[in-house]
């Protein structure tokens, strides 16, 4: 446990001492702010129009602002996550510091979990920015807080899964660009898998749809924690970390 925290802490140090964290925070703050503004502005316009027409059409901040905002942020996450995970092992391999980690009295799994945890915390710090955006909705409106909480949980879990896969991809190369590009391709494939729903409702389509990463966000952003989504996320995290540990172990046989 102590070793995991030791590794995790050093990784966070590297994120925040190097420009990586600050560039990501800036990009994310800009994009999430833009999305929040556009979506809430169009919501405001729609509610003014509906009042002028004298319709008492129910307007719901949760359904019309917060849920779409979460699904947009989930897509932004797909693009930013490979940038967080790509350096985790690739950089250690290039610098030769992997030799230090492997010859230190720590277990492979502690290295893997420590690194992944630092990436999740890094990603979590991006979501803190999102929290600031959302706080405006609470100041000027009166949304239900529960879907916001589950939405955050969902988006964090989705990030944790992609980061676990990204960590694995990072063990395969010593080139960060390659790790980032492959990680991005993997995230993209997981995203577009649910486009197959337009091909009908066969077993294959249903399986592909279940494997698709974004479809699991929907119920979270509506305030529902569905066990099938939770199981999806947790098993993807497990798979990613398992593959990372195996890959790290095989490194010493291949080295």
């Amino acid at each position: 446990m102590r070793n995991i925290w030791t590794i995790c802490r050093r990784e966070l140090y590297s994120y925040f001492v190097s420009p990586v964290a600050w560039v990501l925070l800036t990009i994310f703050a800009f994009l999430s702010g833009l999305f929040t503004y556009i979506i809430s502005a169009s919501f405001a316009q729609a509610s003014i129009e509906s009042q002028m027409r004298g319709q008492s059409f129910p307007m719901n901040v949760n359904e019309q602002v917060i849920a779409p905002l979460f699904s947009n942020i989930a897509v932004v996450g797909l693009f930013l996550i490979p940038l967080i995970s790509m350096r985790l092992f690739a950089e250690e391999k290039r610098q030769g510091t992997i030799e230090l980690l492997i010859t230190s009295p720590v277990h492979d799994l502690e290295i893997v979990i420590g690194k992944w945890l630092s990436a999740v915390l890094m990603y979590g710090s991006l979501l803190v920015v999102l929290l600031i955006d959302y706080s405006f909705l609470f100041i000027y409106g009166n949304p239900d807080w529960k879907p916001v909480a589950t939405g955050f949980l969902g988006i964090l879990l989705q990030g944790a899964c992609l980061l676990a896969l990204g960590t694995f991809i990072s063990t395969l190369t010593k080139n960060q660009i390659v790790a980032g590009a492959v990680g991005f391709a993997a995230a993209l494939v997981l995203w577009i898998l649910n486009w197959t729903t337009s091909f009908g409702n066969s077993i294959t389509v249903r399986v592909l749809n279940y494997l698709s990463i974004v479809s699991h966000m929907d119920s979270f952003s509506r305030g529902v924690i569905d066990s099938k989504d939770l199981i999806y996320y947790l098993s993807m995290i497990f798979l990613g970390l398992f593959l990372t540990a195996r890959s790290l172990e095989s490194l010493r046989w291949r080295a």
């Binding site: 102590r2 510091t97 230090l100 009295p105």
Partner: protein, 326 residues
């Protein structure tokens, strides 16, 4: 402290280390000598549990490097050929991280860190970023990293490569200062380094063990028996007369003219193994009425050591590979 038995390591295309055995006693300081690509780094990586051996067995402090690697890792300090540094960290933060990683107890981390920074003379740059340090400082931070948890065994892969002469001397002194408390194996391809630092030497070439011996003994096997002589004949005789004279000295096997100018005659005199011809050479020159300007032993290059060692003896496989170094 370290036992290596019939160790082999094969890569996909070639054999890096082929069936070597040696042992190192507690408190020894051993030089691991060989040209580039001899298998030094591979052997060290096996000993540090970075990679498992293909065949054979190695134990450190009684623990097997493959079966009980966790126990071995606790007892080893390792400086790879490129020091494993994180350029974005400051020296102090880096060493604090290493102390935590190596399970130094929480209340000792600060004092141990300060101690090794003093010891390796990096305390003056402790808040500098590692990326801003010179090669010499980086090497010393690497060394500090290896000793921070006070390991029983220190494994140093080419600790002086890429340093300037002053830094080399400092690093050697530092390593010598560490012997006694630690058992040290250091690899190098520079022979004088072994003479300067180590008491014992293990020579490997192309994955084979060539010799394991004490430095003293190795010297007596004929290494360092070449002598360089500078003579001033003061007009009384020329280069060939001097050469003839030198060749007649008992024990001399070969005389090579190195520089022949009007005022300087320099010869390299090689002698038979186990003979020290220097007194006789000096006497012969003085006796002939010439001036002896300089008489010094020249260091043989590693290639010449190999020629002597392999030429004088035996196929590598026939070397008594199981003997521990005395």
């Amino acid at each position: 402290m370290i036992q290596v038995e019939n160790l082999s390591k094969k890569y996909a295309r070639h054999v890096a280390v082929d069936n070597i055995s040696f042992s190192v006693e507690k408190g020894d300081i051993v030089g691991f000598l060989g040209p580039n690509g001899a298998g030094k780094t591979t052997t060290m990586r096996v000993l540090t549990c970075f990679m498992p051996p293909t065949a054979g067995k190695a134990t450190v402090a009684g623990f097997d490097v493959f079966e009980q690697s966790f126990e071995v890792k606790k007892r080893i300090g390792y400086l790879p050929e490129t020091p494993p540094l994180y350029p974005e960290m400051s020296v102090q933060d880096y060493l604090t991280f290493i102390a935590r990683l190596k399970n130094v107890p929480g209340d000792e981390i600060k004092s141990r860190t300060n101690q090794v920074m003093e010891r390796c003379s990096v305390a003056d740059v402790k808040s500098r970023l590692i990326s801003k340090l010179s090669r010499g400082y980086r090497q010393r931070v690497g060394l500090a990293q290896a000793i921070i948890h006070n390991p029983d065994v220190l494994i140093l892969d080419e600790p002086t490569s890429g340093l300037d002469p002053k830094q080399i001397t400092e690093t050697r002194d530092l390593i010598k200062g560490l012997s006694g408390e630690h058992t040290i194996i250091l690899s190098t391809h520079i022979l004088p380094e072994v003479e300067a630092v180590c008491r014992k030497v293990i020579i490997i070439n192309r994955g084979h063990l060539v010799a394991t011996d004490s430095v003293e003994h190795l010297k007596h096997r004929g290494i360092g028996n070449a002598v360089q002589v500078q003579v001033d004949t003061a007009g009384n005789g020329d280069a060939s007369t001097v050469r003839q004279k030198l060749e007649q000295v008992p024990g001399v096997s070969k005389v090579v003219e190195k520089v022949v100018a009007e005022d300087r005659l320099i010869f390299e005199v090689e002698s038979l193994p186990d003979r020290n011809p220097r007194p006789d050479v000096a006497r012969a020159i003085v006796h002939a009425g010439w001036n002896l300007l300089e008489l010094k032993s020249t260091t043989l290059s590693l290639e010449e050591v190999y020629l002597q060692l392999t030429g004088e003896a035996i196929e590598p496989a026939a070397v008594p590979v199981n003997g521990s170094i005395q």
